[in-house]
Point group: C2
Chain length 240, copies 2
Amino acid sequence: MLSKNQRKQILQLSQKKQRLANGLFVAEGEKVVRELMNSSWVYESLYSTDPSFHTNAEMIRMEEMKQLTHFKTPSPVLGVFKMPPRKEILNESISIVLDGISDPGNLGTLIRLCDWFGLSELICSQTTVDCFNPKAIQASMGSIVRVHCQYVSDLAQTLKDLNKPIYGATARGNSLYDATLPKKASFVFGSESHGISDKLTALLDEELAIPYFKLGENRAESLNVATAGAIFLSEIFRPS
Amino acid sequence: MLSKNQRKQILQLSQKKQRLANGLFVAEGEKVVRELMNSSWVYESLYSTDPSFHTNAEMIRMEEMKQLTHFKTPSPVLGVFKMPPRKEILNESISIVLDGISDPGNLGTLIRLCDWFGLSELICSQTTVDCFNPKAIQASMGSIVRVHCQYVSDLAQTLKDLNKPIYGATARGNSLYDATLPKKASFVFGSESHGISDKLTALLDEELAIPYFKLGENRAESLNVATAGAIFLSEIFRPS
């Protein structure tokens, strides 16, 4: 039986401010919660509607889970985890840099993609949605434990400090497929609605685009940033 | 002011059975609804919290929109549209074929990707989520009007009838990057949890995979089907 206080504590973790103040975040879904439990990350509490999930999980009814979930359809498992410690910037050969990504599902998908392509770091502006947002955690499918999201206060300065050629994914850029990409580079992706900010655009060595494959006006205006990221990462890492 | 009857009619369109029985579906979000209105598709009713949206839209309060929406966060615009007429199979040079995709967001994203890469048709098993699901409509960002989803009763037979080499996206396949892809081919993507069904696997000429870029066990187990689809489409259409 869930107390009013427990419910309040969990629900308030939907807000970034409360996550930071408490050093806690929420993960939902059995696969994601298990991935987090199997990492070095520490859970504070587990809730499940399924008695077989884990001996440390508090059993609750599905009606109670519905009051806790951040999703329209609740999953049988919810965990409250401690935020992991911050890390120094690694500056891997390839850096993926996000400037103002607002959709947590897109962020989570990009985290999973970085993990797939072997990256351990994703560099984010402060205007990018928080990676501990429940929907970002969910979409990352556990890759969040392997890909550290670095939220930097001055993204322009960080890009300069990374000291690599800087490419921007834009609608008007040169074809990604024609570019000869160096082994070390930063790739900047801008917000879904506003693109890359002017301050960062000024720093770009080259703008690259996924070209249209259909002539005329009657086609998709854009790709979402997660699928664009997938295509960029594939081009960056594919054997040429 | 929304009547109880209107609310009931709209809410029941969340069910595929009701959409088919009424020949209607719901689209939410200003951009998507506008794209649908600008196509040959016909709306039956429009609802908006914003008086400037359209003269034919019924003004409702945000409180009422919250009762209609299929999303956790409602948008200011909702439209009820008539389902478009069914079409004959086009059999374009490249066919994307979905076998049991269950997530409507993934389906919508794949529709948008097909549109981007110039395809007008997406072939789906009956076990694939309905393309008129509100979340699929939303994720397609209007591309649904240009990409016809063909739900076929016997996908194995359809694949044979398409009369092209058949590739399957699987985890154990040969590297997508090493394959020489023909100009005409079908590409099958399986369900997020179970992959391609055995019946279809037996028909594949070759299984292709996006290779791992990280050694060892400690990495993302899989990509989601929409990002895998993005990478496949990019490889299929990129100039070699």
